[in-house]
Every structure is written in C-alpha cells, then in structure tokens.
C-alpha cells in the first residue's frame, strides 16, 4: 500500500501522518485520530451524519479522502465544547429543546448549524429548515432541532 504523508490541523492541533491514499477522511478522523464523534450513516453523501468543517466550510467527510485534507484546517464536533467542560450555546440549545433522541445524527447537525449561524445569526424558520435539510434524522421529526437552532440563533445575536 502506498503511504502518503499529510499535514493538517485538526481541532487546533497540528497533525502529521502517513496514510493510504484511498483512506476516507471520515475513517481517518475516526480510526486514526480516535475522534469518534463524527458518525457514519450512509457513506454516500446523503445523511450528513459525517459533517465536519474543512477550512471553515461544512463538508461530508465520507465524500473526501484523507489525502485531500492535506494542508487543511479541520474541525469536528469535539471542538465545540467550552474549555471549562461546559456545553457551548448550540450544544446547550440542542439539549434544552430535546433536539436529539438517539444522538447518532447530532454531531452532523451541530457542525452543519454552527457554520450556518456564523454567517446568518438571524435566520427565519424557512432558512433554518433549508440549512438542515441535508441532514437526516430518523428519530426526532426535526421540529425540536428547528427550535434548538432558533434558541441558538438568539444566543448568538444577543
């Protein structure tokens, strides 16, 4: 197997590894970096559970190879928590509004929404629905996720 050297920053830490060129970024994050908060629901780019940030943009890590992240700045759900161990405003909003049941989809939603709120801190309900429409949740029926995003938006804009 051909090893390729990659250098990247993950959750603020510099990482340098040799990887198989065919290794998926999602597997790299989970298996090599032990960051198992990034979940895999479909591996064909539809469910959004594997959403992370690459250079500030939400992307599906199951559709990227690890080698493509060379030189990039990656953020995963593990980066959201505050230094004092408290939930950040978005995580708190999810918990306050019962926006998760099994929680398997949740990291993907959090990463999709956190990017979105940075750009649009006063979204309408329709904008919120659109923003999360690429993430599947099989448990909640979405309404509490929408409520949570509204609460989070309010916190951001205050």
């Amino acid at each position: 197997m051909d090893g390729v050297k990659i250098n990247l920053k993950v959750n603020g830490q510099d990482i340098s590894r040799e990887v198989d060129s065919r290794l998926l970024l999602s597997d790299f994050i989970r298996e090599s970096l032990y960051l198992t908060g990034t979940h895999i629901g479909c591996e064909h780019g539809v469910c959004g559970a594997c959403t992370i940030h690459v250079n500030g943009d939400p992307v599906r890590s199951c559709l990227m190879l690890a080698v493509q992240a060379d030189g990039c700045e990656v953020k995963t759900v593990e980066s959201l928590i505050q230094e004092n161990g408290k939930l950040n405003y978005l995580q708190q909003a999810f918990s306050d509004n019962h926006a998760l049941q099994c929680g398997f989809c949740t990291p993907g939603f959090l990463m999709t929404v956190s990017g979105f709120l940075e750009e649009n801190s006063k979204p309408s309900e329709d904008e919120i629905k659109k923003c999360i429409s690429g993430n599947l949740c099989r448990c909640t029926g979405y309404s509490n996720i929408i409520k949570a995003v509204k609460q989070a938006a309010q916190t951001v804009s205050n």
């Binding site: 908060g37 895999i40 629901g41 959201l80 929680g103 599947l136 448990c139």
Partner: protein
C-alpha cells in the same frame, strides 16, 4: 409523591451525545482488533454451486474466511424467535393457526433465498483489506425461479422458498366474532376493496454492528451489539453455539435508533462472536448502508381484501377481511405483526361482526419483521380508508360516520369479543375516543375549515383534511426487570432489563426512582443495556418500556424504600412510621436532627456482626422486581392531516398535522412529545415517500438514500399536540405506551386528506406511498372515468 414524574426533566444522555463522546458500537476499539466483511448473495433465488476463496485467502492481511460449509454442524441455523412466537393455548384454540418453522443458515450453504443473504465472511486487518478480499471471492450460482409476488408464491407450481415445506404458506389463522357473513347479507350496502401497505425499511441512522471479544481465562464472550434485545441475543448465541448463557455477556452501548428491526437476532450477531474465539482476538463488523438496505430486515408488506357491510345511516355492521403478509424468505416473529393486525383493525369502532383470515406467505425477499407499529399502521390504513369510502359512498362527512360507529366513554371497559395475543380478552381499559375526536376537530376548527375549503377550491386551491384514529395495545409482557440498590458510597444504582435506542431511559427511569427514594434524578445511576446484572430482561419494543420497566423500577424502588426505613428505624431506635426521608437522608419526623444518611444506612446494612438489618430480612440494600403486566394497556389517538394537492404535478404538501393522544400517565412530557413527533415523521415518510422496491428478479431497486427517500426537515411540519390522560388500570402508575403510536396513523390521515382535497373528483387511495407519479396516474384515471360518465 410525584415530584419528578410528570416533569419535563432534561435528558441525562445528552451531554455525551452532543459532545461526540457517546459510545456506539462503531466507536469501540480494542487492541489487536480485526474487521469482518460479509459476502452476500447477488441472486434472489439460486443454488450455490461452488465458492472459490483461493485468491482472497492469498491476500496479505486476511486472517480467515468462512463459508457455510466451514460451519456446517457447528453453528445451528436461525429459527423463529420462540419468545415472540409462542401462543397461549386459549388463543391457539380460538384462532386455529397453522405455523411452520422456517430456517436460515447463518451463512447460506446450499441455496440463497434473497439478495443480501450472507454467504461468506472475511476477517482482515481492517475493512479496506477485508472488502478487497470479499471482492476476490467467486460464488458460482445456478439460478432458480424467483418469486417476489406473494400471489404468485401461492400458486400451485410456485418454487418452494423453504424447501422442507409443502408450499409457501408459512402460517395462517382465523379470528372471528359475531357473524360477518350474515351481516353482509343483512346490510343496506356492501363495499369491497383491496387495501395495501408496501414494504418499508426502518432505517435507523446508525446501521447495525457487532464487536466481540473472547476471554480464554473465563471462557466468556463479551459481545457489543447495536441491538434492542441484549438478553435475546444472549439466549440465541447460547443456543446457536452450544454454550451456556453464563458464558455470554451482551452489551448494547449507545444505540443509534432501532424501531423494531434491531430486535431479534441476525446472523452476524452469532458469527462475529464465533470468529472472535476462533481468532482469539476482538472482531468488529459494522454494516454499511447498502447492506442495511438489502440485509437488515424489512417490514409491513400487507394486502387486505375487505368486504364491509353497512347501512344507509352509516352504521358499519360487519367486516370480512382476508389478508396476506409477504414475509420474505423467513418468518422469524411468528404471528406478531399478523395477529397485531387482526386484533387492532377495528380500533375505536364498534363493529360487532368481524371475520379475519390471514396467510403469511414466503417470497424471495429479505425477511419481514416488526417495525414501529408492527401490524397496526397497515390495518389502521384499512379501517380509516373504509370509514372514508363508506362516508363518500353515502355522501356524508367522514366525521359523521366516525361518530356513528365509535365506542363511547360510557362503554368502557369495552370488550371487542376476541383475544389479545397474550390470551387475555381484548378489553379496552380506559379512554374517551369521541372526546378526543371533538378535541381534535376543535384544534383545527373543522367547521371553519370546511367553509374555507369551499372558497379555496373555487380558486383552484385543492386543500383537504383527513382523519385517522387508533387504539393501540401497548406495554406487552411478558415481564420486565429492575434491580435497585444502594451501594457502599450511598449511591442509588438501578439496573433495568430494557435498553434504549434513543428513548431516554436513563432520564425517565431516574425520575420514577427519584420520586420513590426522595432524591433528585441526578442522584441516581441508571444502568441499561447489559446482561450482567440481571438474571432476566426482555427489551425495548412494542411500546413497552415505560409501562413494564417503569412499573418494575417503581415497585422495586418502593420496596427498597421500605428496607431503607426499616434499617434506619433500627439504627435510630424508633418505628419506621416515625421516619421521613429526603435528599439521601432519613430523619425522625418530630426531631429532624436525629438522622442517618443513605451511606450510613448502606454501611449498617452490610452483612456481618454489626448488621442492623431487622431479623427476617436479607442483609444489604438491594431489591429485584419483575413486573408482569396482566395484559396490554390501551393508548389511543386522533390524527388530523391538512394537505394541499397540486393536480398537475401530483405533489402533496402537508399544510398541518394535529394530534390528540392518550398515553395515560406521562412520565416526561418533553420525551413523550418527542416520541410522538418522531413517530409521525416516520408515518409521513411511509405515507408519501418510502417504499422498498424489488424488480421481478428479486433485485433491490432501492439500495441507497438516493432511491429510498427518507423525509427531511422540508417535509415534516411541527405537529400540534394535545393530550388526554386516562390512566391505565393495568399498572400502578397508570402508564400507557407511546413509542410506536405516532407512526401508526399518518398514512391513513394523509390518504384521506388527499382524497378530500381532490373531491369531487373520485379517487381512491388504497396504496402507498402517495408519490407524485402514482397520484398523477390516479387523477388521470379518475378524470377519464368522470369524462366518460359525463358524455354518457
């Protein structure tokens, strides 16, 4: 005493899940761990002529490859799950069933019966290498005639799916009360219809997965599985591998949704442990989504042929129904869905003459098992379509026909004249269905809507309203277990046999326990999803956990309270009745200074010379209680859908969805509302989008999320919810189950709403999902018919 029961206490599970530090099976890693990948059948019906593994075996990084022949005589084939299949003798007598056993080799040996059936397993350093190897395995097939249509499967010369049987009818039975045949003769009118619910897939967002380790020293397996039923897996692995249960520990860690099909036992749950012993190292298998679509079990797939006897005033006199369940290649769950269907069909209605026959038919498809609702969404769709068709035939508002036939509050408890699956009489214990209907109609201002609707239709806006009701037997037995203890540090720990897949067990059960032991929920540790701490456990399915595990922990906690007070009384030298407890302390009512803490009580309860436990009681502070419900308890609900239909595109837009439901005593309203909303979302999926489609060769056409459409945030409205609280008479807290309810009614409510929106165009929606292309066809057909009638 209920300080926390009834409150929307925030979930204790959330912290780990929102920080990405939960632990699902896929997240488990162990030193020396290797990964397995399955080779699955690409044919729906074929003989296996040979399997060539030579090239695969030569690949670097491959540790072992097993085929069916390698485990022949070592691992027993899967058969039906006895705990879900056994029928009480009085029910057998009443319904006279024929049931044939089916078998499935954990790796197909001689022939394959459905696409996706496991044929071989490869274990390699990691999944990448294992998949490379799997690709190199060559299976030689000789194809057999494929049957995907259950009616073809019933034909005389149909090829046999299970070869030891005489034909493809796996089971059948007959339920009857009154005289339906006579009612068809007596009635003013008769309606005949074929009403069917397609095959769907539960699709939890986490696929299945198993990790197993084997410890040589203790000769024990520790198996992690994304399962709803850890205890059932323990039993079946013991049976399949000739072990005793003591050798097997099963853990269900965080489980990412289940909804039914993660119940039962799958071949992988037996093979991965076997491999871990063979290789003497941990083995992991994580299902991918394609495997999930082909090989994780499907559900529903019923076809009903009904005849309905009714009078001019809308009274329904009788229903005669013959229905078929397409069970795929194996039926693991006996009459679970089938009998659920048979006993739930009449729902909230009084229909004295009722006659149902059912056949469970085998075909070359993935096995069919219970999924949220388990036989109920199918028959609620039948019943509510009947109400709607009768009303339209009589030119009446459907609400009038509903009212005419509904069981009244004063009829409670109401005996439906047949039996529940557990052998008890089908007697509704409590509820007020007409009041629920009125409450629902008020929520949406039904009268007002009907006025508005006329106007809107004139403007070309095709809006409609549709209603569905159901009565659901929830909280099925046989039992659930709770073991509550106070450990040496004074901490209350409760173990339950029922494990969660997102329902919030750690939260709701700590609420119940907290109330009994006068603590806060955060003071209580809840342990679920492990077979080590309890002798028996049942599991999470059939809307049963709150009812059964909830009652078990309540009673166990109450017993423990009695013991804590007895020990404290001995320590403080007073009577138990003089004591009060609060915040982990027990004190004398008249002299609160005089007190002992739980920690001190736990110490005083330790066995030995200084033990202060009163004579006649065992030392220690622990209580086990098995709650055995007398029978199921009946939840009920009214669902109302408002839609707008675009006649040109056939697109159905949900304008609103309202529900009134009775779940008896609610432990945590936030969680109950979440269950209702989530269930309704799945029901909306089934109504409008979801269908597992096979071609005539038995090839799955819906193998990805591009083809199998799950609803997104754009399609699911926020449901308006309103509650009734008629306490169940069948458990101490008065709880009724709620997990499945939401998913039951949406197909019926939405179909009725679409029919209503298109009225006066006469369309009949007796099939699902109501996809744009199908609806377009039904509209065209109705228009053609109408045009024909108009020009004579």
């Amino acid at each position: 005493m209920t300080k926390y029961v009834g409150q929307s206490v925030k979930r204790r599970e959330d912290y780990r899940l929102v920080t990405g530090t939960g632990q699902f099976v896929g997240d488990i890693r162990m030193a020396n761990m290797v990964e397995a990948v399955f080779v699955r059948s690409t044919h729906a019906h074929a003989t296996i002529k040979g399997i060539d593994i030579s090239e695969a075996q030569a690949l670097e990084g491959v540790h072992v490859i097993l085929t069916g022949m390698d485990i022949d005589g070592i691992i027993k084939p899967l058969v039906q799950f006895e705990s879900h299949c056994a029928l009480p003798p009085n029910l057998e007598e009443a319904i006279n069933p024929t049931i044939h056993y089916c078998y499935e080799d954990v790796l197909a040996k001689n022939k394959v019966m459905y696409v996706g059936q496991p044929i071989a397993v490869v274990v390699a350093d990691n999944r990448y290498v294992a998949e490379d190897a799997a690709d190199l395995i060559k299976v030689e097939y000789e194809t057999l005639t494929v049957v995907v249509d259950p009616f073809k499967s019933l034909e005389k010369d149909a090829p046999l799916i299970q070869e030891h049987l005489q034909n493809n009818v796996q089971s059948d039975f007959h339920v009857t009360t009154g005289n339906a045949v006579q009612s068809l003769k007596d009635a003013d009118q008769i309606l005949k219809a074929r009403i069917q619910t397609p095959r769907v897939s539960s699709n939890p967002l986490e696929t299945r997965g198993v990790v197993s380790t084997y410890e040589n020293r203790t000769d024990q397996f520790h198996i992690y599985s994304s399962t709803q039923l850890p205890f059932e897996i323990r039993t079946y692995i013991a049976r399949s591998l000739d072990l005793v249960e003591q050798q097997i520990r099963v853990t269900a860690p965080d489980v990412g949704g289940g909804f039914g099909p993660k119940g039962g036992v799958h071949p992988e749950e037996i093979l991965i442990p076997y491999l871990s012993k063979l290789l003497k190292r941990p083995v992991k298998w994580i299902e991918d989504r394609l495997e999930h679509m082909t090989s994780a079990r499907h559900s529903r797939d019923q076809i009903h042929d009904v005849e309905v006897a009714f009078n001019q005033d809308g009274t329904i006199l009788g229903i005669k129904d013959h229905f078929i369940i397409d069970s795929g290649a194996v039926n693991y769950f006996g009459l679970t869905c089938a009998y659920n269907s048979a006993y739930h069909l009449r729902g909230a209605y009084k229909i004295p003459n009722y006659d149902v026959t059912c056949q469970i038919v085998l075909t070359n498809k993935t096995p069919n098992v219970p999924f949220r609702g388990a036989g109920r969404p199918e028959v609620v769709f039948v019943m509510d379509r009947i109400i709607d068709m009768v009303a339209r035939r009589l030119k009446k508002d459907p609400v009038e026909v509903m009212r005419k036939n509904m069981i009244q509050a004063e009829d409670m408890p109401y005996d439906q004249g047949i039996l529940v699956k557990d052998g008890a009489k089908l007697i509704y214990d409590s509820g007020d269905y007409p009041a629920a209907l009125d409450q629902g109609l008020k929520m949406i201002d039904y009268e007002g809507f009907r006025e508005q609707q006329k106007e809107l239709k004139k403007q070309g806006k095709l809006v409609g309203v549709g209603i569905s009701t159901y009565v659901e037997g929830t909280g099925a037995g046989p039992f659930e277990s709770a073991y509550v203890t106070i450990d040496g540090s004074g901490q209350v720990v409760a173990y339950l046999g029922s494990s969660p897949q997102g329902q919030g067990h750690e939260t709701v059960f700590s609420q119940i326990c907290a109330d009994e032991l006068m603590l806060s929920p955060n003071d209580i540790t809840i342990r679920v999803g492990d077979t080590t701490n309890l002798a028996f456990g049942a599991g999470t399915y059939a809307s049963r956990s709150a009812v059964n595990a909830g009652s078990a922990i309540q009673i166990a906690s109450a017993k423990l309270r009695g013991k804590v007070l007895a020990v404290a009384a001995a320590m403080l030298e007073v009577e138990s009745s003089d004591l009060q407890m609060e915040n982990g302390k027990v004190f004398v009512k008249t002299n609160p200074e005089k007190c002992v803490t739980y920690k001190e009580i736990a110490k005083a309860a330790r066995p030995g010379n200084r033990c202060r436990v009163p004579g006649g009681m065992e030392p220690g502070l622990q209580v086990t209680h098995y709650f055995v419900p007398p029978t199921v308890t009946f939840s009920s609900s009214v669902h109302i859908a408002m839609v707008e239909v675009d006649k040109e595109t056939g697109l159905v837009e949900l304008k609103g969805y309202s529900v009134v439901h009775d779940a008896g005593k609610v432990i945590n309203p936030m969680i109950v509302d979440g269950q209702v909303q989530g269930g309704i979302a799945q029901g909306i999926g089934a109504a409008l989008f979801e269908e597992v489609v096979y071609d005539e060769k038995g090839q799955l056409l819906t193998g990805s999320y591009m083809d199998y459409l799950l609803p997104t945030s754009m399609e699911i409205p926020t449901v308006e919810k309103s509650h009734q609280e008629f306490l169940s008479t069948r458990n101490p807290l008065g709880i009724k189950g709620v997990g499945e309810g939401g998913a039951i009614s949406p197909p019926a409510a939405i179909a009725n709403a679409v029919v209503d929106a298109l009225d006066p165009l006469e369309i009949t929606i007796n099939q699902l999902p109501i996809s744009p292309s199908k609806l377009r066809n039904w509209i065209k057909e109705a228009e053609r018919k109408k045009f024909k009638i108009e020009i004579g």
